[in-house]
Symmetry: C2
Subunit: 558 residues, 2 copies
């Protein structure tokens, strides 16, 4: 569907247009643009992490090009929570226009501030909290407490003349959340009483039947595992999962162990969380890694980054014996209190195997309940639909299988099928007179960040990189201008092709023969000569090796 | 451990030496060499599939170099079953010595024959079956029926003057196997009565507690799903899982549907399975895909390859709308009756999302029990250990976490800890006087197959390919011989670096400046000039882009 859509026409007067520039049809780079009366409101601005088919790419941004000409129309950027896939692209947006008001909760803004400092960007912040409202031009926003795997998350209702939209952000309906701040289903139900015209709802776990386990189930397991450990306990978890870290600390302290944070983002985030009152721990109980290494192993719990096997993260370094201060031994217990993000399996299993080789005990969710998801399962989403009772639904945050599953849930609660809009990135959904419909679509590409410069690496470059993963063969030919006669021997070299130094020898003869026959035909055009050389070498390599390296001819004239 | 080991000394007279050339410390390319009285016996000869860190590699072979000088000592190659990770490297071994007797069960040899035909190799086969014995020089082999996810699997006891070794191959203890041929635990127990000196045991599922579900649980689920489908049913499964296909067929036939096989290996293997009596289906009930496409959708079940998201497999083609004869529609039900092999997640989820976008219903093991593993869980392995009661144990088939878990199980049944040998690839375990101990180790590398030529692609080539995944910048300089003065303008070009045509312009000036200063210093050595050019361009690219493409300088003289 949708791929045949043409760009949308003008928005009907008084209508509301919703366009995702990322986050629909994929998991990551969430960013949704709301347009009303010529003005824009943006919810979230996150990054997507590259797949193995996108080599050399650091990050992928939402397609900011579609708002580049309308930056001055943006009233505010409103944030649901501080995960990278919701805030990671903010510095790139603010480099385009630094004074866009950035609206979010206390913890969210603190993490955005830390991120922006690294990028030398200083945003204009507007702090809000659940129960409040804030007005940004023609948009009135209303905030609801949301439970997720990071503190201080919000759902956002956007009230406009065209109707009310509710956006869940990432959401879970944990009924026994560790911080005593469950998702405000009563508040959303009141909003539903007043009428929600369009409901943008998290699809991530829509395929999972039932109701997800509570974060509070993790604590007892961590306690039991820590109690049973004779040596050091090392728990890896996501660096923003403050409730998880709280439970690790509680277990450690109850069992007379000190806690130390390891890894740059863990140290930074837990510093922020303590300062803002989201993490509760006595000064005595947290020590730095140097002090921790002086204590007996059974008096220490380390909380570390590296759950996804990132090669430079603390846990990976430990597994390779390359960590500056921590040397693992067979008595250590390692707990991976985290999920495995698809695509990272090879890296994570590599780390686990290295840990097993050392002889440490490794516990993952496969052995004990040491992780729960932060996203609502199908059963929880049903509570949301029945509470909000939306007129129209637009599943967000997910690939097609998640979106379809979420759409089905909406329909099962009584939302008419024709009122459920499956809109990919770039698709504009117009809300006019209480009716939501697809108005058209603009193509939304991936904006790749590779190093400092953004925007110069695209599909063509990535295509070349993928071909280069079979190596290349370069052929340099120097000819006398005009005559086309060789001025130097044909020079062949390759990288990533073969370790046999003589691998290409016969190809040189092929090139020389080709040059001779071109000369006999009086061909002197360097472009034609280059093409012929490429063909000759490519054919020889294909027949001899059955490989397809990139063939790179260079023809120079002297 | 082990990595510091030196090559083993001579084997004690009358002793038995066991050396894995693949399959321990990894999942794949299983191959174990037994040495006794100067003669060799090999069990299995499989391939390993490359990871994303091994770009361009087709297959990885066991390190055959260690037996290249002793090919004539090999009495036989004995096979446990016909999975690729146990037979895939046979053609490469037989190219070194074509007349090695290849010993295996009927179904195993049939699949090996098909594989060897593709490689134009004609092996010398010795067919055996459970209950039989065969003698190969100083080795007497005895065969036991084994249940696994492919028909006709065997465990192999090797009787020698030094003692008896039992090798499980891949094994499961399904007590209600579909083919009525359970693993011969009574036979192995009798062998245990007589005494098993060394037990090589499958570690794949040693981490999974309890007893695995039976293959026979799948049938009813397939029946229920097929009965509930209004349109076409398409089941993807491994092309050698004959019992699975039998159950798909049984459900289809019971519900009045015809079956068609899709995908080259599925068609081939099911042809062999029917011919040899391992798959039972009436001629009427199997139709070719052309005939299937003429029937109403609800009269058809397709059995297809492509469970791992392989881009050229039938299911992937269907998901992209590129299959020659099958066009999917929203009414189709797709069942992935398979596991997800780590590393393939991105590809498989990509296919599932494409199927979801079309609107087909996709059922995986996450929604219903449509797959079971073919490997024994921990609880089943305990039955094996208590039946066999081995003196010494050597866990095989697994990475370190699997080997450690398997070792622990052995110890828990009473095998003394010092009698459990954790031996990686290349480690020689000597059995002398009933005692198994590590004698040393030879380094075992990976033999990469890339296209036609094997052995010329190694770690250096792969290292270059990984660097090339960030692209390259080539700089060609033509100088007058002797003077070092430029004979042509500096030529810069790149691939996989940037889509900006002017990206490298300033670098040209840097190179020219560098050449001038080299000329001023009277440097005329092309090697030194190339190094200087590489440094200058690398530094400029790093500072300007913060990227690290490969810099490839070429200096030619005319």
């Amino acid at each position: 569907m949708d791929t045949d859509l043409t760009p949308p026409g003008p928005l009907a007067p008084g209508g509301l247009r919703v366009t995702a520039l990322g986050g629909i049809g994929e998991i990551g780079r969430n960013m949704t643009v709301f347009e009303h009366l010529g003005r824009l409101l943006v919810i979230d601005c996150g990054v997507l992490f590259p797949t193995h088919d996108e080599p050399g790419v650091d990050l992928i941004l939402p397609d900011l090009r579609h708002i580049e000409d309308r930056l001055d129309d943006i009233e505010a950027l409103v944030l649901t929570h501080a995960h990278e896939d919701h805030i990671g692209a903010i510095p790139f947006l603010l480099k385009l226009r630094p004074d866009i008001p950035v609206v979010g909760s206390k913890f969210t803004l603190a993490l955005v501030a830390a991120k922006c400092r690294e990028h030398r960007v200083k945003p204009v912040f507007v702090e809000v909290k659940e129960g409040q409202r804030s007005t940004h031009g023609v948009f009135e926003c209303q905030y609801f407490a949301v439970n997720h795997s990071i503190p201080d998350a919000l759902a956002i209702a956007v009230h406009t003349g065209a109707g009310t939209v509710l956006h869940t952000g990432d959401i879970k309906l944990d009924q026994l959340p560790l911080d005593g701040r469950p998702t405000d289903l009563p508040g959303m139900s009141r909003l539903g009483d007043a009428g929600v015209d369009l409901f943008l709802c998290d699809s991530t776990n829509a395929e999972h039947p039932g109701v997800g386990p509570s974060e509070s189930e993790i604590g007892p397991t961590l306690h039991r595992l820590t109690r049973g450990a004779d040596g050091r306990v090392i728990v890896a978890c996501f660096a923003s999962n403050v409730d998880r870290v709280q439970q690790i600390i509680d277990a450690a302290v109850a069992l007379g162990r000190k806690v130390s944070f390891v890894g740059r983002s863990m140290v930074r985030n837990m510093g922020i969380a303590r300062e803002l009152g989201f993490l509760s721990v006595a000064d005595d109980d947290v020590i730095d890694i140097g002090a921790a290494e002086m204590l007996p192993a059974d008096r220490v719990v380390l909380v570390t980054t590296g759950t996804q096997g990132e090669p430079m993260a603390a846990l990976s370094r430990m597994s390779r014996g390359e960590h500056r201060s921590i040397t693992l031994t067979a008595g250590d217990l390692i707990i991976l209190s985290s999920s495995l993000i698809p695509g990272n399996e090879e890296a994570v299993y590599g780390v686990i195997d290295a840990l097993a080789k050392i002889g440490t005990r490794v516990v993952t969710n496969a052995q004990a309940r040491v992780h729960v998801s932060g996203h609502a399962y199908a059963g929880e989403l049903l509570f949301l639909y029945n509470g909000v009772r939306p007129r129209n639904v637009m599943p967000v945050h997910g690939t097609w299988r998640h979106l379809r599953a979420n759409a089905k849930l909406a329909v099962s609660t009584g939302v008419p099928e024709e009122n459920v809009v499956l809109a990919e990135n770039g698709v504009s959904v117009d809300l006019v007179g209480g009716v939501a419909s697809i108005a058209g679509a603009v193509p939304v590409g991936k904006m790749f960040v590779d190093g400092l410069i953004t925007g110069d690496v695209g599909d063509a470059t990535l295509g070349e990189r993928l071909i280069l993963s079979s190596g290349f063969v370069a052929v340099t030919v120097v000819l006398h201008r005009g005559t086309g006669k060789p001025a130097a021997p044909v020079h062949l070299h390759s990288r990533g092709f073969s370790e046999d130094p003589k691998a290409l020898e016969p190809a040189g003869l092929k090139v020389e023969a080709e040059l001779e026959s071109l000369a006999a035909e009086n061909v002197t055009d360097p472009v034609r000569i280059a093409q012929a050389v490429r063909r000759a070498v490519g054919k020889w390599v294909g027949e001899t090796y059955r490989r397809q390296p990139m063939i790179v001819p260079t023809v120079l004239e002297v």
